[in-house]
Amino acid sequence: MRALLWRDIRLAIRAGGGFGLGLAFFLMVAVLVPLGVGPEGALLSRIAPGILWVGALLASLLSLDRMFALDFEDGSLDLMAVSPLPLEAVAAVKALAHWLVTGVPLVLISPLLGVLLSLDPAGYVWLVAALALGSPALSLVGCFGAALTVGLKRGGLILSLIVLPMYVPTLIFGAEAVRRGAAGAEAMVPLLLLAAISLGSAALLPFASAAAIRANLK
Protein backbone atom coordinates (compact mmCIF):
# COMPACT_ATOMS: atom_id res chain seq x y z
CA MET A 1 0.00 0.00 0.00
CA ARG A 2 2.77 2.36 0.94
CA ALA A 3 4.59 1.51 -2.27
CA LEU A 4 1.50 2.32 -4.29
CA LEU A 5 1.03 5.59 -2.43
CA TRP A 6 4.63 6.68 -3.08
CA ARG A 7 4.41 5.60 -6.69
CA ASP A 8 1.27 7.66 -7.27
CA ILE A 9 2.65 10.73 -5.55
CA ARG A 10 5.94 10.53 -7.44
CA LEU A 11 4.16 10.03 -10.74
CA ALA A 12 1.90 12.99 -10.08
CA ILE A 13 4.78 15.29 -9.20
CA ARG A 14 7.29 14.21 -11.81
CA ALA A 15 5.04 13.59 -14.78
CA GLY A 16 4.02 17.23 -14.72
CA GLY A 17 0.70 18.62 -15.79
CA GLY A 18 -1.53 17.30 -13.05
CA PHE A 19 0.27 18.53 -9.99
CA GLY A 20 0.93 22.21 -10.58
CA LEU A 21 -2.04 22.63 -12.86
CA GLY A 22 -4.67 22.45 -10.14
CA LEU A 23 -2.83 25.00 -8.04
CA ALA A 24 -2.33 27.33 -10.97
CA PHE A 25 -5.99 27.04 -11.84
CA PHE A 26 -6.98 27.86 -8.26
CA LEU A 27 -4.71 30.92 -8.43
CA MET A 28 -6.20 31.99 -11.76
CA VAL A 29 -9.74 31.82 -10.38
CA ALA A 30 -8.75 33.99 -7.43
CA VAL A 31 -7.13 36.50 -9.79
CA LEU A 32 -9.87 36.55 -12.41
CA VAL A 33 -12.82 37.06 -10.10
CA PRO A 34 -11.72 40.46 -8.71
CA LEU A 35 -10.98 41.58 -12.26
CA GLY A 36 -14.44 40.44 -13.31
CA VAL A 37 -16.56 41.86 -10.52
CA GLY A 38 -14.42 44.90 -9.80
CA PRO A 39 -11.88 45.47 -7.03
CA GLU A 40 -14.37 46.69 -4.45
CA GLY A 41 -13.24 45.36 -1.07
CA ALA A 42 -16.58 44.99 0.66
CA LEU A 43 -18.14 43.02 -2.17
CA LEU A 44 -15.06 40.81 -2.56
CA SER A 45 -14.83 39.93 1.09
CA ARG A 46 -18.50 38.95 1.03
CA ILE A 47 -18.15 36.57 -1.90
CA ALA A 48 -14.62 35.37 -1.06
CA PRO A 49 -15.64 32.16 0.80
CA GLY A 50 -17.84 31.04 -2.07
CA ILE A 51 -15.26 31.88 -4.73
CA LEU A 52 -12.49 30.07 -2.89
CA TRP A 53 -14.62 26.97 -2.44
CA VAL A 54 -15.82 26.90 -6.03
CA GLY A 55 -12.21 27.36 -7.14
CA ALA A 56 -11.08 24.47 -4.95
CA LEU A 57 -13.89 22.31 -6.35
CA LEU A 58 -12.97 22.98 -9.96
CA ALA A 59 -9.26 22.65 -9.30
CA SER A 60 -9.76 19.22 -7.81
CA LEU A 61 -12.05 18.29 -10.72
CA LEU A 62 -9.30 19.14 -13.21
CA SER A 63 -6.95 16.41 -12.15
CA LEU A 64 -9.55 13.70 -11.59
CA ASP A 65 -9.55 12.07 -14.99
CA ARG A 66 -5.84 11.27 -14.61
CA MET A 67 -6.44 9.31 -11.43
CA PHE A 68 -7.14 5.98 -13.13
CA ALA A 69 -6.93 6.72 -16.85
CA LEU A 70 -3.16 6.33 -17.28
CA ASP A 71 -3.03 3.14 -15.23
CA PHE A 72 -6.00 1.83 -17.19
CA GLU A 73 -4.33 2.47 -20.52
CA ASP A 74 -0.95 0.90 -19.77
CA GLY A 75 -2.42 -2.04 -17.89
CA SER A 76 -1.12 -1.26 -14.41
CA LEU A 77 -4.69 -1.18 -13.19
CA ASP A 78 -5.11 -4.82 -14.23
CA LEU A 79 -1.97 -5.66 -12.27
CA MET A 80 -3.33 -3.90 -9.21
CA ALA A 81 -6.60 -5.78 -9.60
CA VAL A 82 -4.86 -9.17 -9.49
CA SER A 83 -2.39 -8.15 -6.77
CA PRO A 84 -3.03 -9.35 -3.21
CA LEU A 85 -4.07 -5.82 -2.26
CA PRO A 86 -7.89 -5.55 -2.37
CA LEU A 87 -9.22 -3.15 -4.98
CA GLU A 88 -11.01 -1.19 -2.26
CA ALA A 89 -7.61 -0.39 -0.73
CA VAL A 90 -6.25 0.58 -4.14
CA ALA A 91 -9.12 3.03 -4.58
CA ALA A 92 -8.61 4.44 -1.09
CA VAL A 93 -4.87 4.86 -1.65
CA LYS A 94 -5.47 6.52 -5.01
CA ALA A 95 -7.86 8.97 -3.39
CA LEU A 96 -5.35 9.62 -0.61
CA ALA A 97 -2.58 10.28 -3.13
CA HIS A 98 -4.86 12.61 -5.07
CA TRP A 99 -5.67 14.48 -1.89
CA LEU A 100 -1.99 14.77 -0.90
CA VAL A 101 -0.97 16.23 -4.26
CA THR A 102 -3.99 18.45 -4.95
CA GLY A 103 -5.95 18.93 -1.70
CA VAL A 104 -3.11 19.69 0.69
CA PRO A 105 -1.41 22.31 -1.54
CA LEU A 106 -4.80 23.98 -1.99
CA VAL A 107 -5.21 24.14 1.78
CA LEU A 108 -1.73 25.61 2.19
CA ILE A 109 -2.09 28.23 -0.51
CA SER A 110 -5.66 29.25 0.39
CA PRO A 111 -4.74 31.94 3.01
CA LEU A 112 -2.69 33.69 0.35
CA LEU A 113 -5.66 33.72 -2.01
CA GLY A 114 -7.79 34.92 0.87
CA VAL A 115 -5.61 38.03 0.90
CA LEU A 116 -6.20 38.55 -2.80
CA LEU A 117 -9.93 38.35 -2.26
CA SER A 118 -9.76 40.52 0.90
CA LEU A 119 -11.29 37.86 3.09
CA ASP A 120 -12.14 39.05 6.57
CA PRO A 121 -9.17 38.33 8.93
CA ALA A 122 -11.38 36.29 11.24
CA GLY A 123 -12.09 33.93 8.38
CA TYR A 124 -8.57 32.62 7.70
CA VAL A 125 -8.57 29.97 10.40
CA TRP A 126 -11.96 28.75 9.29
CA LEU A 127 -10.98 28.77 5.63
CA VAL A 128 -7.96 26.56 6.29
CA ALA A 129 -9.92 24.32 8.64
CA ALA A 130 -12.86 23.96 6.28
CA LEU A 131 -10.66 23.19 3.27
CA ALA A 132 -8.59 20.74 5.29
CA LEU A 133 -11.71 18.90 6.47
CA GLY A 134 -13.64 19.13 3.22
CA SER A 135 -11.05 18.45 0.54
CA PRO A 136 -10.70 14.72 1.41
CA ALA A 137 -14.38 14.36 0.48
CA LEU A 138 -13.64 16.02 -2.86
CA SER A 139 -10.88 13.52 -3.59
CA LEU A 140 -12.96 10.53 -2.49
CA VAL A 141 -16.05 11.51 -4.46
CA GLY A 142 -13.83 12.33 -7.41
CA CYS A 143 -12.16 8.92 -7.11
CA PHE A 144 -15.60 7.32 -7.45
CA GLY A 145 -16.44 9.43 -10.49
CA ALA A 146 -13.07 8.66 -12.09
CA ALA A 147 -13.59 4.95 -11.46
CA LEU A 148 -17.00 5.09 -13.15
CA THR A 149 -15.77 6.82 -16.27
CA VAL A 150 -12.30 5.29 -16.67
CA GLY A 151 -13.21 3.16 -19.68
CA LEU A 152 -14.89 5.97 -21.58
CA LYS A 153 -13.43 7.74 -24.55
CA ARG A 154 -15.01 11.09 -23.79
CA GLY A 155 -14.97 10.56 -20.05
CA GLY A 156 -14.11 14.12 -18.99
CA LEU A 157 -17.48 15.75 -19.61
CA ILE A 158 -19.50 12.95 -18.11
CA LEU A 159 -17.12 12.86 -15.17
CA SER A 160 -17.90 16.47 -14.33
CA LEU A 161 -21.63 15.92 -14.86
CA ILE A 162 -21.56 13.05 -12.36
CA VAL A 163 -19.11 14.45 -9.84
CA LEU A 164 -20.25 18.06 -9.53
CA PRO A 165 -23.73 17.32 -8.13
CA MET A 166 -22.07 15.13 -5.52
CA TYR A 167 -19.77 18.00 -4.58
CA VAL A 168 -22.71 20.22 -3.71
CA PRO A 169 -23.13 19.32 0.00
CA THR A 170 -19.39 19.76 0.58
CA LEU A 171 -19.52 23.14 -1.15
CA ILE A 172 -22.55 24.29 0.84
CA PHE A 173 -21.19 23.40 4.26
CA GLY A 174 -17.62 24.42 3.42
CA ALA A 175 -18.54 27.87 2.19
CA GLU A 176 -21.04 28.26 5.03
CA ALA A 177 -18.35 27.52 7.63
CA VAL A 178 -16.00 30.12 6.15
CA ARG A 179 -18.77 32.68 5.78
CA ARG A 180 -19.88 32.29 9.37
CA GLY A 181 -16.29 32.27 10.58
CA ALA A 182 -15.51 35.46 8.69
CA ALA A 183 -18.63 37.12 10.10
CA GLY A 184 -17.60 36.09 13.60
CA ALA A 185 -20.60 33.79 14.04
CA GLU A 186 -20.72 30.24 15.32
CA ALA A 187 -19.07 28.15 12.58
CA MET A 188 -18.61 24.84 14.35
CA VAL A 189 -21.82 23.21 13.07
CA PRO A 190 -21.09 23.40 9.34
CA LEU A 191 -17.50 22.43 10.07
CA LEU A 192 -18.61 19.29 11.90
CA LEU A 193 -21.05 18.42 9.11
CA LEU A 194 -18.21 18.86 6.65
CA ALA A 195 -16.04 16.46 8.64
CA ALA A 196 -18.98 14.05 8.72
CA ILE A 197 -19.24 14.14 4.92
CA SER A 198 -15.52 13.45 4.58
CA LEU A 199 -15.54 10.59 7.07
CA GLY A 200 -18.71 9.09 5.62
CA SER A 201 -17.36 9.13 2.10
CA ALA A 202 -14.03 7.72 3.32
CA ALA A 203 -15.93 4.82 4.86
CA LEU A 204 -18.28 4.05 1.96
CA LEU A 205 -17.03 5.35 -1.36
CA PRO A 206 -13.89 3.18 -1.78
CA PHE A 207 -16.24 0.19 -2.00
CA ALA A 208 -18.32 1.85 -4.70
CA SER A 209 -15.15 2.88 -6.57
CA ALA A 210 -13.80 -0.67 -6.41
CA ALA A 211 -17.09 -2.06 -7.74
CA ALA A 212 -16.93 0.41 -10.62
CA ILE A 213 -13.31 -0.48 -11.44
CA ARG A 214 -14.18 -4.18 -11.43
CA ALA A 215 -17.03 -3.59 -13.86
CA ASN A 216 -14.73 -1.58 -16.08
CA LEU A 217 -11.95 -4.15 -16.13
CA LYS A 218 -14.21 -7.10 -16.89
Binding site: F144, L161, I162, A215, K218
Partner: protein, 243 residues
Protein backbone atom coordinates in the same frame (compact mmCIF):
# COMPACT_ATOMS: atom_id res chain seq x y z
CA UNK B 1 -45.17 -19.02 -10.14
CA UNK B 2 -42.76 -16.46 -8.85
CA UNK B 3 -41.79 -12.90 -9.64
CA UNK B 4 -38.55 -14.12 -11.24
CA UNK B 5 -40.50 -15.55 -14.17
CA UNK B 6 -40.67 -12.02 -15.50
CA UNK B 7 -36.89 -11.96 -15.72
CA UNK B 8 -37.44 -14.00 -18.88
CA UNK B 9 -37.81 -11.35 -21.61
CA UNK B 10 -40.34 -13.46 -23.51
CA UNK B 11 -42.57 -13.85 -20.49
CA UNK B 12 -42.13 -10.15 -19.71
CA UNK B 13 -43.13 -9.17 -23.23
CA UNK B 14 -46.24 -11.38 -23.14
CA UNK B 15 -47.44 -10.16 -19.78
CA UNK B 16 -46.66 -6.51 -20.42
CA UNK B 17 -48.41 -6.67 -23.80
CA UNK B 18 -51.49 -7.93 -21.98
CA UNK B 19 -51.22 -5.44 -19.11
CA UNK B 20 -50.32 -2.35 -21.08
CA UNK B 21 -53.80 -1.42 -22.44
CA UNK B 22 -55.33 -1.85 -18.99
CA UNK B 23 -52.71 0.15 -17.15
CA UNK B 24 -52.57 2.92 -19.72
CA UNK B 25 -56.36 3.08 -20.00
CA UNK B 26 -56.75 3.33 -16.25
CA UNK B 27 -54.00 5.98 -16.14
CA UNK B 28 -55.82 8.10 -18.72
CA UNK B 29 -59.16 7.74 -16.92
CA UNK B 30 -57.69 8.64 -13.52
CA UNK B 31 -55.66 11.55 -14.86
CA UNK B 32 -58.56 13.01 -16.80
CA UNK B 33 -60.92 12.52 -13.86
CA UNK B 34 -58.48 13.88 -11.29
CA UNK B 35 -57.37 16.88 -13.33
CA UNK B 36 -60.86 17.85 -14.53
CA UNK B 37 -62.24 17.43 -11.04
CA UNK B 38 -59.33 19.37 -9.60
CA UNK B 39 -59.29 22.19 -12.14
CA UNK B 40 -62.99 22.83 -12.67
CA UNK B 41 -64.95 21.44 -9.74
CA UNK B 42 -63.04 22.63 -6.70
CA UNK B 43 -63.39 26.11 -5.24
CA UNK B 44 -60.55 28.64 -5.35
CA UNK B 45 -58.50 28.93 -2.20
CA UNK B 46 -59.36 32.03 -0.19
CA UNK B 47 -55.76 33.17 -0.09
CA UNK B 48 -54.12 31.63 -3.12
CA UNK B 49 -56.98 31.96 -5.58
CA UNK B 50 -56.87 29.67 -8.58
CA UNK B 51 -53.11 29.08 -8.34
CA UNK B 52 -53.73 26.43 -5.69
CA UNK B 53 -54.81 24.13 -8.50
CA UNK B 54 -51.29 23.62 -9.75
CA UNK B 55 -50.95 21.26 -6.79
CA UNK B 56 -52.57 18.56 -8.93
CA UNK B 57 -49.56 18.53 -11.20
CA UNK B 58 -46.81 19.63 -8.82
CA UNK B 59 -47.25 17.22 -5.94
CA UNK B 60 -47.76 13.99 -7.95
CA UNK B 61 -44.89 14.70 -10.32
CA UNK B 62 -42.53 15.59 -7.49
CA UNK B 63 -43.52 12.42 -5.64
CA UNK B 64 -42.99 10.30 -8.73
CA UNK B 65 -39.68 11.98 -9.54
CA UNK B 66 -38.28 10.73 -6.25
CA UNK B 67 -40.07 7.38 -6.32
CA UNK B 68 -38.72 6.73 -9.82
CA UNK B 69 -35.18 6.86 -8.49
CA UNK B 70 -36.03 4.29 -5.83
CA UNK B 71 -37.63 2.10 -8.49
CA UNK B 72 -34.39 2.39 -10.44
CA UNK B 73 -32.47 1.46 -7.29
CA UNK B 74 -34.54 -1.73 -6.93
CA UNK B 75 -33.99 -2.56 -10.60
CA UNK B 76 -30.25 -1.92 -10.25
CA UNK B 77 -29.94 -4.05 -7.13
CA UNK B 78 -31.75 -6.95 -8.83
CA UNK B 79 -29.36 -6.59 -11.77
CA UNK B 80 -26.29 -6.56 -9.53
CA UNK B 81 -27.43 -9.51 -7.44
CA UNK B 82 -29.23 -11.76 -9.91
CA UNK B 83 -28.04 -10.47 -13.31
CA UNK B 84 -31.49 -10.26 -14.87
CA UNK B 85 -31.25 -8.12 -17.97
CA UNK B 86 -34.88 -7.03 -17.91
CA UNK B 87 -34.44 -5.39 -14.53
CA UNK B 88 -31.41 -3.41 -15.71
CA UNK B 89 -33.44 -2.31 -18.72
CA UNK B 90 -36.36 -1.15 -16.57
CA UNK B 91 -33.94 1.04 -14.61
CA UNK B 92 -32.61 2.44 -17.87
CA UNK B 93 -36.15 2.99 -19.14
CA UNK B 94 -37.28 4.75 -15.98
CA UNK B 95 -34.53 7.39 -15.91
CA UNK B 96 -35.81 9.75 -18.64
CA UNK B 97 -39.33 9.43 -17.24
CA UNK B 98 -38.05 10.38 -13.81
CA UNK B 99 -36.13 13.30 -15.27
CA UNK B 100 -39.29 14.52 -17.00
CA UNK B 101 -41.23 14.36 -13.75
CA UNK B 102 -38.43 16.28 -12.03
CA UNK B 103 -38.62 19.00 -14.67
CA UNK B 104 -42.42 19.15 -14.40
CA UNK B 105 -42.09 19.44 -10.62
CA UNK B 106 -39.56 22.26 -10.90
CA UNK B 107 -41.45 24.18 -13.59
CA UNK B 108 -44.87 23.94 -11.94
CA UNK B 109 -43.25 24.92 -8.67
CA UNK B 110 -41.73 27.99 -10.30
CA UNK B 111 -45.03 28.96 -11.93
CA UNK B 112 -46.75 28.68 -8.57
CA UNK B 113 -43.91 30.36 -6.70
CA UNK B 114 -43.87 33.46 -8.86
CA UNK B 115 -47.23 34.88 -7.70
CA UNK B 116 -47.13 33.24 -4.24
CA UNK B 117 -43.57 33.79 -3.05
CA UNK B 118 -42.80 36.60 -5.47
CA UNK B 119 -39.94 34.65 -7.00
CA UNK B 120 -39.48 31.94 -9.61
CA UNK B 121 -36.69 30.29 -7.76
CA UNK B 122 -35.15 30.39 -4.31
CA UNK B 123 -32.04 28.60 -3.07
CA UNK B 124 -34.01 26.79 -0.46
CA UNK B 125 -32.80 23.34 0.70
CA UNK B 126 -35.82 21.56 -0.69
CA UNK B 127 -35.64 23.19 -4.08
CA UNK B 128 -31.89 22.77 -4.22
CA UNK B 129 -31.91 19.09 -3.32
CA UNK B 130 -34.61 18.51 -5.92
CA UNK B 131 -32.54 20.28 -8.57
CA UNK B 132 -29.56 18.11 -7.64
CA UNK B 133 -31.76 15.05 -8.09
CA UNK B 134 -32.48 16.30 -11.61
CA UNK B 135 -28.73 16.64 -12.25
CA UNK B 136 -28.25 13.08 -11.05
CA UNK B 137 -30.82 11.88 -13.57
CA UNK B 138 -28.84 13.70 -16.27
CA UNK B 139 -25.57 12.10 -15.19
CA UNK B 140 -27.20 8.67 -15.03
CA UNK B 141 -28.67 8.98 -18.53
CA UNK B 142 -25.40 10.32 -19.92
CA UNK B 143 -23.48 7.41 -18.41
CA UNK B 144 -25.85 4.89 -20.00
CA UNK B 145 -25.45 6.60 -23.34
CA UNK B 146 -21.67 6.83 -23.17
CA UNK B 147 -20.73 3.20 -22.51
CA UNK B 148 -20.79 0.86 -25.48
CA UNK B 149 -20.84 -2.54 -23.80
CA UNK B 150 -24.39 -2.94 -22.42
CA UNK B 151 -23.41 -5.14 -19.47
CA UNK B 152 -20.67 -2.79 -18.30
CA UNK B 153 -23.08 0.11 -18.73
CA UNK B 154 -25.65 -1.67 -16.59
CA UNK B 155 -23.04 -2.41 -13.90
CA UNK B 156 -21.69 1.11 -13.73
CA UNK B 157 -25.06 2.85 -13.82
CA UNK B 158 -26.26 0.52 -11.06
CA UNK B 159 -23.38 1.60 -8.85
CA UNK B 160 -24.08 5.24 -9.66
CA UNK B 161 -27.77 4.70 -8.87
CA UNK B 162 -26.88 3.27 -5.45
CA UNK B 163 -24.68 6.24 -4.61
CA UNK B 164 -27.24 8.66 -5.99
CA UNK B 165 -30.03 7.21 -3.89
CA UNK B 166 -28.40 8.89 -0.89
CA UNK B 167 -29.32 12.15 -2.58
CA UNK B 168 -32.76 10.94 -3.62
CA UNK B 169 -33.35 10.04 0.01
CA UNK B 170 -32.15 13.47 1.08
CA UNK B 171 -34.52 15.06 -1.41
CA UNK B 172 -37.40 12.95 -0.11
CA UNK B 173 -36.83 13.91 3.50
CA UNK B 174 -35.69 17.46 2.91
CA UNK B 175 -39.38 18.36 3.04
CA UNK B 176 -39.47 17.01 6.58
CA UNK B 177 -36.29 17.98 8.34
CA UNK B 178 -35.13 21.27 6.90
CA UNK B 179 -37.34 23.90 8.40
CA UNK B 180 -35.78 27.00 6.99
CA UNK B 181 -36.52 28.15 3.47
CA UNK B 182 -39.61 29.01 1.54
CA UNK B 183 -41.04 25.65 0.61
CA UNK B 184 -43.72 24.58 3.06
CA UNK B 185 -43.55 21.32 4.97
CA UNK B 186 -45.16 18.10 3.87
CA UNK B 187 -48.76 18.78 2.95
CA UNK B 188 -49.79 15.16 2.52
CA UNK B 189 -48.87 12.41 4.94
CA UNK B 190 -50.14 8.90 5.37
CA UNK B 191 -50.03 9.08 9.15
CA UNK B 192 -53.04 11.30 9.69
CA UNK B 193 -53.13 15.03 10.21
CA UNK B 194 -53.70 16.11 6.64
CA UNK B 195 -52.80 19.73 6.03
CA UNK B 196 -54.91 19.85 2.89
CA UNK B 197 -58.66 19.95 3.23
CA UNK B 198 -60.58 17.11 1.60
CA UNK B 199 -61.98 19.41 -1.08
CA UNK B 200 -58.49 19.44 -2.58
CA UNK B 201 -57.18 16.21 -1.07
CA UNK B 202 -59.50 13.79 -2.85
CA UNK B 203 -58.86 14.94 -6.41
CA UNK B 204 -55.17 15.11 -5.48
CA UNK B 205 -55.25 11.45 -4.45
CA UNK B 206 -56.85 10.57 -7.79
CA UNK B 207 -54.13 12.51 -9.59
CA UNK B 208 -51.38 10.77 -7.63
CA UNK B 209 -52.84 7.39 -8.55
CA UNK B 210 -53.03 8.54 -12.17
CA UNK B 211 -49.39 9.64 -12.15
CA UNK B 212 -48.29 6.31 -10.66
CA UNK B 213 -50.08 4.44 -13.43
CA UNK B 214 -48.71 6.86 -16.02
CA UNK B 215 -45.23 6.11 -14.75
CA UNK B 216 -45.85 2.36 -14.92
CA UNK B 217 -47.22 2.70 -18.44
CA UNK B 218 -44.25 4.70 -19.68
CA UNK B 219 -41.71 2.41 -18.04
CA UNK B 220 -43.38 -0.70 -19.47
CA UNK B 221 -43.49 0.86 -22.92
CA UNK B 222 -39.88 1.99 -22.80
CA UNK B 223 -38.69 -1.35 -21.43
CA UNK B 224 -40.46 -3.13 -24.29
CA UNK B 225 -38.70 -0.81 -26.71
CA UNK B 226 -35.35 -1.55 -25.09
CA UNK B 227 -35.95 -5.31 -25.28
CA UNK B 228 -36.89 -5.01 -28.94
CA UNK B 229 -33.77 -2.92 -29.59
CA UNK B 230 -31.67 -5.64 -27.99
CA UNK B 231 -33.35 -8.29 -30.11
CA UNK B 232 -32.71 -6.32 -33.30
CA UNK B 233 -29.08 -5.92 -32.32
CA UNK B 234 -28.80 -9.65 -31.73
CA UNK B 235 -30.45 -10.36 -35.10
CA UNK B 236 -28.06 -8.04 -36.92
CA UNK B 237 -25.10 -9.63 -35.20
CA UNK B 238 -26.35 -13.07 -36.24
CA UNK B 239 -26.85 -11.97 -39.86
CA UNK B 240 -23.32 -10.62 -39.94
CA UNK B 241 -21.95 -13.84 -38.53
CA UNK B 242 -23.71 -15.87 -41.23
CA UNK B 243 -22.70 -13.61 -44.11
Amino acid sequence: MSIWEYANPKKFMQTSAWALPWVSGLAVILLVAGLVWGFFFTPDDYKQGATVKIIYLHVPSAMMAISAWFMMLVGSLIWLIRRHHVSALTAKAAAPVGLTFTVIGLVTGAIWGQPMWGTWWAWDPRLTSFLILGLFYLGYIALWAAIEDPDTAADLTSVLCMVGSVFAFMSRYAVLFWNQGLHQGASVSVAGGDQVSNVYGLPLAVCVAGFVLLFVTLVLLRTRTEIRARRIKALIARERAVA
